[in-house]
């Protein structure tokens, strides 16, 4: 993160398009992660109901509809 491979100017149009795609991909990955915690019942995690059950209390206390 603190490396020198960074100096893409944010205001530059070409860098702007790349930034947009990177941001879009990031949003997709992070939404999947949130889905895994909040809603998945094994379809994505491929762990059966294990992860779903493991995070049961977290879902309730984060306020997500659970059952």
């Amino acid at each position: 993160m603190s490396s020198s491979a960074s100096s893409q100017p944010v205001v530059h149009p070409a860098g702007s398009a790349r930034l947009l795609w990177t941001a879009l991909a990031t949003v997709a990955v992070l939404t999947l992660l949130a889905y895994l915690v909040a809603f998945d019942q094994g379809a994505v995690s491929r762990s059966g109901m294990y992860l779903h059950e493991l995070m049961h209390d977290g879902r309730h206390l984060l306020g997500v509809p659970c059952h």
């Binding site: 209390d57 977290g58 306020g63 997500v64 509809p65």
Partner: protein
Amino acid sequence: MPLNTTTTPPFVAVLVRGLLAGLLAGLLAGAFAYVAGEPHVEAAIAIEEAATHAEPAAGAHDHEDALVSRTGQRGGLFLATGLFGAAMGGLLATAYVLLSRRRRGDDDGRSGLLLAGTALLGAVIVPFLKYPANPPAVGDPATINQRTVTYLLMVVLGLVAVWAGSLGYRSVGAQAPTWLRAAAAVGGFLLVTGVSYVVMPSFQEVPADFPATLLWSFRLASLGTQVVLWTGIGLLFAALMHREQRRRAGTALPST
């Protein structure tokens, strides 16, 4: 580098700080939920199991032949809040970068806090007041899909409401008195929130014999967990960005 203000950090640097702030805030929220919420989850599960024993046919979601023990689920709480926090912190960082292109001058640290406040109000408090969190034993398994979809829709509508508020604030014009701009913001926010609350369906699924005090305590603990999460993300992200910006300003202008 004439175009690039050297204090603008690259996307990855911001993202890493958002993920880190989210993970830490998630673990903090987990600690809060463990202390403030777990006793109520425990009590609700005892009620749920008593009900399942009374009429075995209703045992749709039993904790008996559990895949994960109760101890495992209490520990899994931290996994859930940590991962969820990291995801939310990352999303906040992404929004921060996308919005920073419209920002004039350097960030004085307010944008991160404003974004976290937006998320807390729009994605947590507005949905919570319509669809409050439910402990185990509350909620009909037959409607879980409807409740999930309407909950997610409410999150989106809550964010739209905050956006409508900021739109109202800006539409009045900068020369208007502050009270008028604030009133326009509140009006825009309440308009969208009010219409959403009326249009969206309600679910009354609390069993008649479920203790009201337990329901209240659980819901308060649940809301507190989200408040800790988003307050933590906002403050930690702002702090990390402040340090990063000072570091970059220092390397860009070593003379000052």
